[in-house]
Symmetry: C2
Subunit: 203 residues, 2 copies
C-alpha cells in the first residue's frame, strides 16, 4: 500500500462520509470516533482537529441530512401536475427519506445538539414546513381547500407526516405499507383542509 502523506487533505469530508455510512449501518450508538479514525487510516486524535466533540460531528451529519432532505422535498414539490398530487408527493418524499435513512432522521431531530449548531439546524429543518405552507396557500387560492390560517395548517400537516415518518423509520407500522400510511394520512389532511379546520379559522 502507498504510504499516506502526513496531511490527509480532505479529512473532514472523509470523516463525514464514513460516519454517515456507519450510522446507517449500525445506528448512532455504533459510531465511534476511534473506529472512524481507523476506517479512514488516521490516528485516533485526528478527528478532534475538525470536530471538537463527537456531538459536533453528529451535528454536522444532521445538517447534511436536512440539506439532503430539503433537496428531495423541493424536487417533489415542483414535479407533478395538480396541487393535490404534489402535496402527496412531498409527503411521500419526506417519509421515504425517513425510511431510507432512519438513523439519520433520529440524529436530525435529536435534542442534544450543541447550542451553536441548533440555530442553523432549526432553520434548515423548517424549510420543509415552508414548502407545505406555500402549497396550502396556493390550493386555497385555487379554491381546492377551505380558508384557514396556512401556517397552522402547514404545521399540522408537518406534525402528522412527521409522525408517519418516525413510525415508518422505526418499523412501528405493521400490517401496512408505507405508501398506504402516507396515502391515508394525506387523504385525512386534505379532507380536513377541504372541509375547514376550526382551529385554523380562529387565528
Amino acid at each position: 500500500m502507498t504510504d499516506q502523506p502526513y496531511h490527509h487533505g480532505k479529512l473532514r469530508e472523509a470523516l463525514l462520509e464514513r460516519a454517515m455510512e456507519t450510522i446507517e449501518e449500525a445506528g448512532v450508538d455504533g459510531l465511534s470516533l476511534r473506529q472512524l479514525a481507523r476506517d479512514v487510516n488516521v490516528s485516533h486524535g485526528a478527528p478532534a482537529k475538525h470536530f471538537r466533540d463527537k456531538q459536533a460531528l453528529i451535528d454536522a451529519l444532521a445538517l447534511a441530512g436536512f440539506e439532503s432532505m430539503n433537496r428531495r422535498i423541493h424536487g417533489a414539490a415542483q414535479s407533478g401536475d395538480h396541487l393535490r398530487g404534489r402535496f402527496v408527493g412531498v409527503a411521500q418524499a419526506y417519509v421515504d427519506f425517513a425510511v431510507a435513512h432512519p438513523a439519520l432522521l433520529s440524529v436530525m431531530y435529536s435534542t442534544k445538539h450543541h447550542p451553536d449548531s441548533s440555530a442553523e439546524l432549526r432553520s434548515t429543518g423548517e424549510q420543509g414546513i415552508q414548502v407545505a405552507q406555500a402549497m396550502i396557500t396556493e390550493a386555497q387560492e385555487a379554491g381546492d381547500l377551505a380558508a384557514g390560517d396556512p401556517e397552522t395548517l402547514a404545521m399540522v400537516c408537518f406534525v402528522s407526516l412527521h409522525g408517519a415518518a418516525v413510525l415508518a423509520a422505526g418499523k412501528h407500522l405493521d400490517g401496512t405499507t408505507v405508501e398506504d400510511v402516507v396515502a391515508a394520512t394525506t387523504d385525512m389532511l386534505w379532507a380536513g383542509m377541504a372541509a375547514g379546520v376550526p382551529a385554523a379559522q380562529l387565528s
Copy 2:
C-alpha cells in the same frame, strides 16, 4: 449509616426506579450501569443479576412507560361528556405524557430493543390505538363521523398525534403551545373524519 445487609431485597425495583429518574434528568445516554449501582449502594456487578444487559434494563423501563401511559390514556378515554371532548382528551393525555417524560418516550419507541422484549412492548404499545379505534367506531355509530374503516382512521390519528408527541417532547414546536398543537391536530383529524377520508372508504 446503617450497614447494608448482604442481600438488598428489592434491587430490581430500586434499579428501575433510580434508572427512571436518571433518564428523565440526563437522558438515556446519561444512564450508566455503574453509576446506577453506586446510586443504590450496590456493587457494579450486581445489576447484571437482574438485567443481563444494559438494554434489558432499558427494555424494562420502556415497558413500564407504556403501562403508565396506557393508564393515563384509558383514564382520559372514560372521563368526559361528549365523544369529541373525550377524543381530544385522549390526544392531550398522550402528548402531555410525552412532554412530561421525553426521554422515556424515546426509549419506548426505540428500535433497539431485545427481540424477546419486542413482542411484549409492541402489544402493550398498541393499546392506545385500540382506544382510539373504539372511540371512532362509537362516533361513527352516533353519526358524528362519516363512515370509513375505523382501523385505518385510528392508525392515522395515532400517527398524527405521535408526531405531535414526538415534536413536543423534543421541543421542536416553537411559537406554539402544546395545547394549541393538540387542538389544531385534533380539529384537523375530526374535520377529516367527519367529512370522510377517501383512503378509509376503500378498505
